[in-house]
Symmetry: D3
């Protein structure tokens, strides 16, 4: 039977400039929809999971279009609410060569940021669920979004659903008067699988530590529910040339993935979410080491696809891991 995953988070309308134009030149924008958590749901639905996403959109045609995007990905939209507020947006200027890519966020006052947790029947949401995934972006948006995330984590935990959290600390968010340390420990303490780098440990758990394995050990002491901790290491040589590898703390040792060199990157947005989706898929189907390899290969392939969503099959991820078909023309 298909595993069922629940995700929660904001989905934004993404406006990208074309042909490497800068914002100041742009006269037309390509639109896709995306959000860290929904990107995870989309990947898993593409891999035949049963996925449902909890979110809120404005009650207008832009919100409807966003909902239809979720549907096209095979995501259950029963828990999409149409409420007061704007459509969250972001503008993406794709870099080139040494020039970095730029994002302008325009997500304040969005329907999701104003969304009231009491509108969600969390018991119904988690009925039959196998996994719940949240990220540190949600509690960073607003007080009500933080509450939403807490309610979800608690409900999932109560029902024994496995929980993953991508800490993903972003300094520019967190403008509503709370700090990550006020909220995140509450979320982490019910979470099984954590994505966190050293700055996340510091800012969101208060763990200041330069050795990653050691940081993981301390996090597990602090939050005994945690079973796995992972993070990716990206090295940006240029906008189109990055390298990627990842590590996974399995409670005992630090497993290391293969290292991938990525030339001629098409779109790196969603790369972290593709890693997360791959990790969830892997942890449910294979050994820790294989899960890690699956996650990082999934992330690598995402970089070759325009948009937020990782349109790759499980078979394609496995072929990359085995080094098969690389750069070929398959007829």
């Amino acid at each position: 039977m298909q595993k069922r995953i629940i995700t929660l988070g904001e989905i934004m309308m993404r406006f990208s400039t074309q042909a490497h134009e800068r914002f100041i030149q742009a006269q037309d924008y390509q639109v896709v929809f995306g959000g860290a958590e929904a990107n995870v749901a989309a990947s898993l639905a593409h891999w035949e999971f049963s996925a449902a996403h909890v979110t809120a959109f404005p009650d207008n045609d832009l919100g409807k279009a966003a909902r239809n995007y979720l549907r096209s990905s095979g995501i259950d939209t029963s828990y999409v609410h149409f409420t007061e507020g704007r459509m969250g947006m972001y503008f993406l200027e794709k870099g080139a060569m040494q020039r970095p890519s730029k994002v302008i966020y325009d997500r304040k006052y969005s329907a999701f940021s104003l969304f009231d947790s009491s509108l969600v029947d969390w018991e119904e949401v988690f009925e039959g669920a196998d996994w719940f995934h949240w990220t540190g972006i949600t509690p960073a948006i607003s007080a009500s979004a933080a509450l939403l995330c807490l309610d979800a984590v608690e409900a999932a935990h109560r029902r024994g659903v496995r929980i993953s959290g991508d800490i993903n600390y972003r300094r520019n968010l967190w403008q509503y008067g709370k700090s990550p340390l006020d909220i995140l420990p509450e979320l982490i303490k019910s979470t099984d699988v954590i994505i966190a780098g050293l700055t996340d440990f510091e800012n969101c758990m208060g763990i200041i530590e330069e050795d990653y394995a050691e940081a993981c050990r301390k996090a597990q002491e602090m939050f005994p529910t945690i079973k796995k901790i992972a993070t990716t290491h990206r090295n940006a040589i240029s906008s189109s040339h990055n390298s990627l590898e990842a590590v996974l703390w399995n409670g005992e040792e630090l497993l290391r993935s293969k290292h991938y060199d990525m030339h001629d990157i098409i779109d790196r947005v969603g790369g972290g979410d593709a890693f997360m989706a791959g990790l969830i898929y892997g942890l449910l189907h294979m050994s820790d080491q294989d899960a890690l390899e699956f996650a990082v290969a999934s992330s690598v392939l995402k970089h070759s696809i325009p948009g937020d969503k990782n349109y790759v099959t499980v078979e394609e991820v496995n072929q990359l891991i085995k080094g098969e078909n690389i750069g070929k023309l398959l007829r």
Copy 2:
């Protein structure tokens, strides 16, 4: 010497769907910049006026792009301020056949709506100015925008600058606790030329009257500064087929323009602003009747051009009035 016009108002980024797609289908959007008052400035600058526009943009690349748009139109951007707040936006879905066009506004919390009038040196702005133009959209946006408009009108009036105001009552704005009747009379009382229809008279001046000439007479009694009042009559047979004509009250009688049938309309947004620009140009250069004809012909031509801005020459407007070159292929 070139006449100098000052305009004040918000400029928004306009996202239009392509090829008559509905919002719910759209995957790319064409972007232009526009705003009622700046559209007037752009027309007049295109006709060799010296035009300056007072506004505020967010201090990011979207704001810079908007500023450059003004510059490309030959508008003096010395009074463009880069301040706190978002870029105002609107989404335009172009109708077809009987199906109406739709606009989704997303202008709340914009830099302009939060802009502080005390940042503007109004004396400097109006130095050497011949004309100031405002619209009823500005005081409808926010309390600070209303104050901005009042300060501008007063400063212009003090310096003896001629003033026009396009009342343009929009029910969906006016959400900050004031009603049009609280503000607009203050603005109108220093204004020389008014664009107002019967609903504008009622909502913004409290004049309830079914006969337009009579309404104009009452308005002049109430606001003796007013010298001319005009309005356009549009009849929408379908999204691509409208008719247009206009009237001008010159203080004594109601002048009527020719009637134009407009088939295969390309873009009606900015049609009213093209009328306003034509009227200002006309009142400064010709008889009242000719000015009215110039204004309505200017508006008609706007409907044939994509975007907010009326890229037509004075000569082209005059040719339309004379019925010359209509639908020809000019080689």
Copy 3:
């Protein structure tokens, strides 16, 4: 509770030339997916019905893309099968002025045309269904498709599901050795609502009759299950200018709809399916006359929208019927 509709039929990949180019000029093609019956499902899903579509696609990425299109429309794709055969396709050259539009079909050997009815669990399909819709295209494609349609109609009828059939006789199909008179009476005899014109009566029921009401009467005699019969009358003045009206035989009298003049048509493909969807919606919610008006107004609006699918709301259809908002710019 939402009504549940089941539809059955082939979905094709539609390749349209751009900007009124002829096939012989075209260098890029816009792709949408569509099929008569799925278009009906899409409309009804857009109007909050629970809709499921039964079909077969090739087991490749083109088939997956078609499936995702259905999903984006909110259609339940549990009964989409991935089987042997090609993706059915058609090429659309949009006419202009007097020049007609052209379709080149390339649907032979498609997965649907080869699809085996025994792969479908018809009992499961119709569980909880309120309505089943088929068209005369399906039995025209191949012997197996005809069988598929018969099995579906019989299963639906057994379960007491209401059934509609759009006869839609197309001479160019029917190439597998059977004639419409061999098959269609079997389908019609369990059907409640029929869309048929005079040529359909003749070719598919053997009723030769010039008076439409009389033809309906005879059809009801022959097939007593039939409760309503409707048809649209289209008059093509040019590729972009058609008129449309419709009639509905309610078993007693011939009801006539309003007459609509459609200028500047954007895309007429799917216009008949929009009528059908409107009629089903109407017959379930309103009087026969109102249902007929709803159906024809739904069809008219479809002509204003690119692609096969009718992205309009129930409210928009009602506004057209009332003559509200026609050709307006709604802000």
Copy 4:
């Protein structure tokens, strides 16, 4: 056996703005190739004539692209020369509503305008030819182009090839010191079929006459070789709405074609050339009246097709004449 037609004339690169944008807005241009005489050759080649075009292009990739365009139309390019000079160009701004279309020519110093007639082996060119077609544009371009045209007409006449000439007087050309009356009579005196309107009669033959039939009679007296004279009457209601009809003087009486109303015109450039091609085709295959109807229907259909070239079949022209398939969707 296929008839063989020879045409002579300049082919230009045509840059068109998109989506009704004005030149001043345009940021991308669509390119096609076209020229009055080559458009005639392209139509006739499309109708299975053997067609060859004599012209000169610059010896660069733009010239090669123009040559390949001729080839794609099935035109024999053996007499295309690559010589000194620029590629002739023109810019096309498509009008809308009352706003006229505009052309900016940039054809001075082109390879064709500098082309030396002595490089052409006219005897070889006309071997086996049935028809030669020239227009009044060629002698208007430059002294060398006028000589080219004279040499061609004389060589064709010597060999007994039928000759047509589209007078097409354009005031803006003729800048090299000669007037039409210096050159055109020399060309006309060997020509069998003339396209000329009243201004052409006046400017190019010195015949001042208000009655068209009378003008034709006088022209035949002056130039006894002339057998037929035709002209089209276009009425431009707007850029997208014209009417068209034509007359043909057959030496005895003035035949009149049907009148066509053309709404939603896609591209009127090449409409006259489509008439000319239709007339040549008609005069070789049918009665004068039928030829005239064929010519005008060919021209009407051209208006529905983007670009200079008339991609219609003989069958489609005949269907329009008979009123068949108008505005239909042909499946």
Copy 5:
């Protein structure tokens, strides 16, 4: 005098996704026409050969468009037949980074696959021909296509025309009941120049051998007509980074080309055909070693050009061989 080449083979309509989109995302497709043998003819025609291509298209506008493509390349289309059957098609998804490119073929039941050899007057086809080129794709398509190829090879051989064959074994074809070993030896035994790799030797000639030179020696023993055998070696580091080199067996020794590193590949489809065209050109104009270098440099340049066709000049190929102008901006 120009050399004359005859080619035979299927031409397909190629639909490519844009901007590295995957099939499942694509909403518009770019269309070009191409086929292995016609690509060779197009290159040679571009290099001023007289080229004619023998093929069959469906008798519709898609077939006409394909025919016009051949014409635009300067290919003689006298032997293009319009017959029963579909247009052969393929869909191309361009890979990126490690992700491979994908092709979905949809060529079954095509006009070419059903084409009857007896419709071709092979004697007329080969009159005056200097070279005939076939590939192993044709006999793999269908029994009738295999017969077509055999008839052509025999007729060419009878007339003493030099013959080349690109073995190009593709496992997915060959579905009509014959194996390559049934047919290819018959073709090879009249062929002068063969393109074959080790798998081609094994599958199509039954030569199992790991050393390439040795395999060539055995092939020559078995098929004494063979004079040259060549193959390319491609190494795919990623979709946009390949390396390429080639070898040529001249009957005595194995000549090796330079090695090329290809970064930022634009389109690799047609790369092998560009090699073949280069080799034919080279063998007719230069030493074996130079011919090999010409062939591989021609292939390298193809990778920089979108579409199937190699739009490069002989001079550009020679410059690449000499290392001139590489990556420059030529003004």
Copy 6:
């Protein structure tokens, strides 16, 4: 207070093929405006200089569009003249891999090349100016353009304005009977900052010297006004992979910049102008070494941006120099 720079030179309409298509394939062209000197002005205006450009355009809509482009960049267009002549144009075919990029110039008979210096009030132009920049392209175009440049240099020199000149010798220009040695020494002798490579020294100053520092020393002896001499060294590995570094002779020693490797270049046109603009900015704000680094980093970033203009901020240039944010995704 803002520095004021004056530039003089031709601005051309640039037509670029899309998606790496070759000219011979192109069916649409992207248009931008650019010219060496105006590109410098645009960069400096973007960096908040007060910039004015002196030039001439044809008095048509293409000229107006070019003028508006300058305006959008914030350049003062008071000295743009609308005169007789064509719009200068160039066509750009972007290379790929080893295949070079190609430019076809079509600038003969342009308004600028025919422009009469006496129409410019040079005293007014240079009032308040801090810097004047010219290039060796202007005197190469025509005798009148050479005079224009001489008049400008002399007027600037008289007023004590600092002067820079980019020698930029192009063999293909200089077709009006003069050689660079006839004109350039006159210009150089009043110039402070020179961009020149060894071939420029030889062709434009008669200095034949292989050692760059020595050449600079000799140039300073010959032209004592010169204070700085710089040049860039570009190494083209492929069309998308170049390296760049630069040197600056400060009168005493040769300073060397960092070396940059540029992969995945977007558009190299304007790279030299971005260097020049950076150098002017640098020399006015920082040490010679820092100025050189600023100039070369500015040039590197230009290669990442489509079009002629360098849309980068001073801060972005400084970040590149410090190695900050390289290839990042900035949120």
